[in-house]
Symmetry: C2
């Protein structure tokens, strides 16, 4: 015995029709209507048609939350990302969203910012919404605080990490071999006869530390020695992309002051590299003749700047697609791998 669901808009009361409304109009019970909606068999064709017609006429739309309550399934998945404005993160969210939406899931996406407490807070929000799975994009989710929070709040559901790993039975990982990718970059530059390579480092995320490690390893393998003063930390830690160029500029300024004989610089991200390029050119340094520059992420920025930027393509979008597939595999009971590793590509343009 139910009436119309009622909610308010500026005082006015608005209603959505329920299966009970339809049932009453059709002179049948709610269960019959439910069966028709879900295409269940065993309904007389004539009543099925009558109900279908009424559903249409009344603009009936099922309340998926109510359905989810009884089915124990919300068809929601959560996406967590530090800052969606970072262009390769945007692409990640896009592909995940498309893939999950196609399979009947809706995505709840949050930009968490860099702080662990915030990340934990958003994990709890996902728990409250009873998402059936989650994808966390970015190596900065591979922290102990996040691990504990997942264990506490998301232990019942599959969680996929993109570009990071966490040892938990319900956590799956898509890894990207950025260390090796950076080694490749170093090897390429060394192969051009360059000997004084510098590295501009971004905030010390696990991913950035792996890249730096790749720089060191690559140097060693090429028989070059790493001067610590040639490793420059870009200042600040804002994730807003509009600040990254300026941070690259500052770092490049320091580099020129400290390391006059530098002949190549690898940057942790494309935008840092763009800032670096600008400063080099402004100081009359010929790129790539005197100094080569290489970025990471293969963003559009690298295609636009002058000279165009060589970059390590770390396949963020591709790994996010893999993440969506792994999540779907688990959700739909297919077997899948707990860890997948993707390899990077070197994109060579004018700056090297």
């Amino acid at each position: 015995m139910q009436g119309k669901a009622s909610c308010r808009l500026h005082g006015k009361v608005v209603c959505k029709t329920t299966i009970y409304d339809i049932a009453k109009q059709a002179g049948v019970s709610a269960s019959t209507v439910s069966r028709v909606i879900n295409g269940k068999p065993g309904i007389k064709e004539s009543t099925r048609q009558k109900i279908k017609k009424l559903l249409e006429e009344n603009d009936y739309t099922p309340n998926v939350a109510a359905r989810g309550l009884v089915m124990q399934s919300t068809r929601f998945i959560g996406i967590l990302i530090e800052d969606i404005r970072v262009s390769h993160h945007t692409d990640s969210v896009y592909v995940i969203e498309q893939e999950m939406t196609d399979c009947g899931y809706a995505c709840i996406t949050f930009s968490t910012g860099p702080r662990d407490e915030q990340k934990v807070k958003y994990i709890e929000l996902l728990e409250q919404r009873r998402v059936e799975g989650a994808i966390l994009v970015g190596s900065m989710f591979a922290t102990e605080a996040v691990r504990q929070s997942i264990e506490k709040h998301l232990s019942g559901i599959p969680v996929v990490l993109v570009n990071g790993a966490l040892e938990l039975p319900n956590v799956y990982s898509i890894l990207i071999d950025e260390e090796r990718g950076t080694q490749d970059g170093v090897a390429y530059l060394a192969g051009q006869g360059r000997k004084h390579l510098a590295y501009i480092m971004d905030v010390a995320t696990p991913s950035n530390q792996r890249k730096l490690q790749g720089f060191r390893l690559g140097m060693m393998q090429c028989g070059l020695t790493v001067e610590e003063s040639y490793i420059i930390q870009a200042p600040g830690e804002d994730t807003n992309p509009s600040g990254a160029i300026g941070r690259g500029r500052v770092a490049a300024g320091q580099l020129l002051a400290k390391c006059p004989d530098v002949d190549a610089v690898l940057c942790a991200t494309d935008l840092l590299a763009v800032g670096c390029l600008q400063v080099l050119l402004e100081n009359g340094v010929a790129v790539p003749r005197q100094v080569a520059v290489m970025g990471v992420d293969n963003t559009l920025y690298g295609q636009i700047c002058t000279p165009t930027l060589s970059t390590m393509d770390n396949k963020l979008a591709e790994s996010s697609l893999n993440a969506a597939h792994v999540l779907l595999d688990v959700l739909e009971g297919r077997s899948t791998s707990h860890k997948i590793m993707l390899l990077t590509d070197l994109i060579l343009r004018q700056s090297t």
Copy 2:
């Protein structure tokens, strides 16, 4: 009389504790637990403490969907956007998400693509999820098909359009005076003594048509005549930003072939302008001495290309913030305006 909610993960059964579990352990009724959770008064301090402790120990998290069912309120809002990868759209989604999340709402975001049928489909998804409000970002949502779909599926809730208007009682609009902004751009270029202005047009969205109209008006007001052959349509209609530069290049190629005496070109977007810049420079055309170039959107791309790009800042992020505020005003019963108009800024850089 209820037990544990049960759901499955790879065959294993996992449970979330409910208020009934807590109630049983505390030896009280579910309503008492509910009162404690919601901070309602009139509970003996000792039992309140006991229940709080149990909630903590059991990692209790309220099921907001169940709560929403009885409260007739999901605390969800929907965001629709053509393509989140377009950089100014990304910023829009970011600010809306931050704002709504701060106020206890979660956002369901969909990239709809350009087709009306898809937009309608996503509007229906929002209805199924019972969002309490929606923000549609982009002028291409101001179509008749969308209007009808809103009327049919979202008539009970506030809907805010960013950069477009729709005549419906529950629809609010944030408008941007891009027509006037483009006029300003024309006036600026004409003020430099330029006489043969061209326009590179993007897909014919309402917004782009207003800009084109602004171009025509601006020309007229400056006493210049518009040669129709100086209005070039960029080919294709993919919203993926990675294609936009190429489309700008093609258009610029046509322009150079058809209009040898052109001395300024306004482009409908920054990325088209970037492509245009590239082609001009490759053909030995001096920018801005021989030809000035101006974009729209004030994206990071314009700060990166060489020469840096003058652009009309159409304040997408600011208008999205306004949209969020309008939506919150309506949702929380405050009075607000049905239409807000924002003015653009001209950002002058090297390309003019």
